[in-house]
Structure formats: structure tokens, C-alpha cells
């Protein structure tokens, strides 16, 4: 029976060659520079990271973080009540709700983003309706704005938040909530002291998923934001497919991944200390 472990070798070779090695090359390339023709020069250089300190790129970097955090917070706020409702519904509603939340995962985000072009453009559905009801006279410019980008991001990633939240809330021991309400706690108190702390694993997973996905999603800014808005991922994409400055693109990718990791660690620390405090508060 034991010989079957050697079958793992081709898998390991595949993942090494097409997953690990490529990322190591990107890290190495981030410490190189390019010549005037766009070719990579194989010698050590901080050039890629130095370019990042240009105020233009720093500004875009900051915008990306703000947009990603805003998207995450909005997703969390609108998803929690939905996940809470689903987790407390009858099995039939739960099943259907879950199917409805899962289906968007399997619809191309390109299509889901494009759908908003139909809605938001000047002759689009929203403007037509607003004019039809006489609420506005002139069509509003909604497409190619920051608001459109934020809306597109929230729309794309709400399911990413709902599912982990649902899984976490569903596992909360109902008896605790019943006990709280028997002891006279208001719904709000029971939610704040029991449901919320106990669903923190779901909040964590959902937030990380939404944050990282938002930051990496250059298509939404591309399609809904027009040329005016861009994120770090748009710049990265342009370095590799347009401007041909691969060392700079690599440096930005390393910065992107490191930032995500740092924020994830910080966030999990905050979540942890918050729940510790609640637990101690409960004991007192």
C-alpha cells in the first residue's frame, strides 16, 4: 500500500515548476532592472522598488488600499444580516439561499461587471428609469466614476463574504442565544456579545477573501472606472503586458503580496484581541 506515496512525485514536480519556481523568479526579477529596449538586465538593482516611491505610484497604492478596505467593510455590513437570516431560517430556505449565493461564484466576474455597464451607462437602465419617473431631466454620469468601481467591487465580492459568514454563524450554539434571551438580554445584546464574537472566524475569512480579491481585480477598474481610475493591479498588468517593465511590475507584485500578508496578520491580531477582551469581560 505504501508505494502509492511515490505517485505524489509528478504532482510535486508540476507544482514546483509551474507554481513555486515562477513566483521565485518574480521575486528575483523585482531586484533587477530593464534596459532601454525593455529587456531584463540580470544584475542586482533597487530600481523597481525605487520607482515605487514616486508619488504617482504611492498615491495609486494608497487608493488601492482605501478602495479594498472600503469594499471589504461594505461587503461585511451588507452580508452579515443576510448570512444571519439564512443561518436562522428553515432548512428549505437555507438550501435555496445557499444555492442562490453560490451561483454567482460560477458566473464569470467579467460578465457580472459588464452587467453594470448596461445599468449605469448614460442611455442605461438606471438613467432611463430615473428620467421615465421624472426624477431627473438629464442622464447622470454614473459610469466611469469611483462610485461605479466601488459598486462593481462590492457586487462581485458580496458572495465571497456571505458564504464564510453563513458557515460561521450556522455553527454558533443556539442554546447560548436562547440562554441570553431567557436571562433578559435584548436581541442586540445577544448579537453583540454572543453571535458576533463567535462568528469572528467567518468575518476573518470573508474579509481576507474580499480584500485580496478586490486589490487584484484590475478588470473592474478597467471596465467601470474608465481611464481615470486605476489600482495597483492595473499598473502591474500594464507593466507586464504593455509598458514591458517587468522588474518594476515584479517589484509591485511583491509589494502587493507583502501588503496583503501584513494587513491579514494585523487584522487577525485585532480580531483576536477583541474576542479575548469580550471573553474576559464575560468572566467579570
Amino acid at each position: 500500500m505504501n508505494k502509492s506515496k511515490w505517485f505524489f512525485t509528478p504532482v510535486l514536480i508540476w507544482l514546483g515548476l509551474f507554481l513555486i519556481v515562477p513566483m521565485l523568479i518574480v521575486v528575483a526579477m523585482s531586484f533587477m532592472q530593464r534596459d532601454t529596449l525593455g529587456n531584463v538586465v540580470y544584475s542586482f538593482s533597487w530600481e523597481g522598488y525605487k520607482t515605487f516611491w514616486d508619488s504617482l505610484y504611492l498615491g495609486i497604492y494608497w487608493d488601492t488600499i482605501v478602495l479594498s478596505i472600503t469594499t471589504t467593510v461594505i461587503c461585511l455590513v451588507v452580508s452579515y444580516p443576510l448570512a444571519y437570516y439564512l443561518a436562522n431560517s428553515s432548512p428549505r430556505v437555507q438550501n435555496w439561499g445557499l444555492i442562490l449565493i453560490t451561483i454567482p461564484f460560477w458566473i464569470n466576474f467579467l460578465i457580472r461587471t459588464y452587467a453594470w455597464v448596461l445599468l449605469l451607462r448614460t442611455q442605461g437602465v438606471v438613467n432611463s428609469l430615473l428620467i421615465h419617473f421624472g426624477w431627473i431631466d438629464e442622464p447622470l454620469q454614473m459610469l466611469y466614476t469611483k462610485g461605479a468601481v466601488l459598486l462593481g467591487m462590492v457586487y462581485n465580492f458580496v458572495p465571497f463574504m456571505v458564504l464564510p459568514l453563513y458557515v460561521a454563524i450556522e455553527q454558533i450554539d443556539r442554546r447560548l442565544l436562547d440562554a441570553a434571551s431567557d436571562l433578559g438580554a435584548s436581541r442586540w445584546k445577544a448579537f453583540w456579545h454572543i453571535a458576533l464574537p463567535q462568528s469572528k472566524a467567518g468575518i476573518m475569512t470573508g474579509s481576507v477573501l474580499v480584500f485580496v480579491s478586490t486589490a487584484g481585480m484590475f478588470v473592474v477598474t478597467d471596465i467601470l472606472g474608465g481611464s481615470k481610475s486605476s489600482m495597483i493591479s492595473n499598473i502591474i498588468q500594464a507593466q507586464f503586458l504593455g509598458a514591458r517593465n517587468w522588474p518594476f511590475g515584479s517589484a509591485l507584485s511583491v509589494i502587493f503580496v507583502l501588503t496583503s500578508l501584513v494587513l491579514i496578520v494585523l487584522f487577525s491580531r485585532v480580531m483576536k484581541s477583541r474576542s479575548d477582551r469580550t471573553r474576559e469581560g464575560g468572566k467579570a
Binding site: V11, M23, N88, T102, N108, L118, L119, Q123, V167, D222
Partner: protein
């Protein structure tokens, strides 16, 4: 007593579902709208679907997508299944790290995976084309196959296999007649997921596709950047319907086995 939540919760949930589904349904409805320009409803037509069939670029992208999806599904299913099976015989201390590596493609942002593969292919002087797209798709799909088959294996235990071997079955006989039949639903389901992922992928393909290997999502992206068109609505509608059908089928296959604990299809 207060089992039901606040009534506002229900209203909020209904509104969220409307928010999620109105745009998608709208694309589908517009694909049947008999006008090229305005947003008003001008009657039902199938013209846009017909003109898709006549469009050479669409047909070429469709062919590319299907070739890539078929090849990468076969390879990813094989590699994913092998990973899940052999993982059981690997020493416990190695399982954690190997699991981590297998989960990486699910966790790494698509953009990073795409650009790092682009860099690798260019360093190895491999020209971009259908084969590079296939390699990329195999790499991320096999993780999903692994997750599904692994869940199936974890649910079945090893008693039957041990019994077969005690009764004198060889390793291959045990595999062929005991293990394989039990994990087949997982394998089929994993393959359907791999196929859907490949058909749907844009981000990774965008980096590693050459000019002659445009896939459907890449084609759609190019068109969407130019503005809206009824043909794109039709193409999107078809892609939505195919993806949903495949995924529901995968879910059905996975849960069909009697007595099996129901697996909820979580995409990660």
C-alpha cells in the same frame, strides 16, 4: 421563542438577492431584445444568437476555449486525483506542508499566478499559445479536483480497502474494485468543476495566451472594453447558462451516492 430574527432581516435579505440577480438577469433579457441601440424593449429576437454562430472570431475563440478546457480538465483531474490518493500514504508530518502547496493556487491572487507564469514561459523561451494556457489551467484546476476528491476519500475510511487486502486482493485489484468506485462521484464532480473553471478563466489566461489562442473570456473582455453590444449579451448568456448547468451537475453527481453525507458545494 424569538427564533425568527427581526423582520427587517428578511427584507434586507430579499433586497440583497435582488441586487445580486437583477444585473445578471438583465444581461440575459437584453440578449433577446430586438434593437441594437436603445435600452428600451423592442420585442423578442434570436438574431444575436444567430449572428454569434456566423462570427468567425467567436467561433475561433470557442474552439480554443473548448480545446484548452478538455485537455486541462483531463490532466487536472488526473493530477488532482493522484494527489488525493497518494496523500493518504504520506507521513503525517509532510501532509501539512504538501496540503499547503496544493491549496496555494486557490489562495494566490489570479493576477500573481498569471504574471509569474508569463515570466516563467518567457525565461524558458516557450512561445505563448494554447499549450501555455493549458499549463496554467491545469495548475489551478488540480487544486479544486484535489479538494473534492479528498473530501470524498475522507468520508469513506479505509476499512473496505483493508478488508479487500486481507482477503488477498493485490494493490491494483483493491484500487480498481474498491477504492475507485467509491471516489468516482468525486472525480466526475471535480472534473466538471475543472472544466467550468477553465472555460470561465480570464485573469490567468489573459497573461499567458498568445495572439492566436484567444479564449472566449478574453474575446469578451476585448469586446466589453469597446462598449456594449447585443451579441456580447447573447454570448454572456450562453456562458452563464453553461457554467451554471455544469456546476449544478457537479453538485448532483457528488450528492447522488446514497447514504453519503451531503456535501455542500463550497467554492473554496
Amino acid at each position: 421563542m424569538k427564533k425568527k430574527g427581526h423582520p427587517l432581516l428578511g427584507i434586507h435579505s430579499a433586497l440583497m438577492m435582488i441586487f445580486i440577480y437583477v444585473p445578471i438577469v438583465l444581461v440575459m433579457v437584453y440578449s433577446f431584445n430586438n434593437t441594437r441601440l436603445s435600452g428600451d424593449w423592442k420585442g423578442f429576437t434570436l438574431d444575436w444568437y444567430v449572428s454569434l454562430l456566423k462570427d468567425r472570431h467567436v467561433m475561433e475563440a470557442l474552439t480554443n476555449s473548448l480545446i484548452v478546457a478538455v485537455v486541462s480538465t483531463i490532466a487536472a483531474t488526473l493530477l488532482g486525483t493522484i494527489s488525493a490518493l497518494s496523500m493518504r500514504d504520506i507521513a503525517r508530518k509532510w501532509r501539512g506542508p504538501l496540503n499547503g502547496v496544493l491549496y496555494m493556487p486557490v489562495i494566490i491572487p489570479d493576477i500573481i499566478m498569471g504574471l509569474s507564469l508569463l515570466v516563467l514561459f518567457s525565461q524558458l523561451h516557450i512561445p505563448l499559445g494554447k499549450s501555455t494556457v493549458m499549463i496554467a489551467h491545469i495548475t489551478f484546476s488540480m487544486s479544486y479536483v484535489y479538494v473534492v476528491v479528498n473530501a470524498r476519500l475522507a468520508g469513506m475510511g479505509r476499512q473496505l480497502e483493508e478488508a479487500a487486502q486481507d482477503l488477498g486482493a493485490t494493490y491494483w485489484q483493491t484500487f480498481r474494485h474498491v477504492t475507485l468506485p467509491q471516489i468516482t462521484p468525486g472525480i466526475i464532480s471535480g472534473a466538471l468543476i475543472a472544466f467550468t473553471l477553465s472555460l470561465d478563466d480570464f485573469m490567468v489566461s489573459f497573461f499567458v495566451a498568445g495572439p492566436s489562442s484567444t479564449t472566449l473570456p478574453i474575446y469578451i473582455y476585448g469586446q466589453v472594453k469597446r462598449g456594449i453590444s447585443p451579441e456580447i449579451n447573447a454570448l454572456c448568456t450562453l456562458l452563464i447558462l453553461v457554467s451554471i448547468t455544469l456546476i449544478l451537475l457537479a453538485q448532483y453527481v457528488l450528492n447522488r451516492g446514497k447514504g453519503q453525507k451531503k456535501n455542500k458545494m463550497l467554492p473554496f
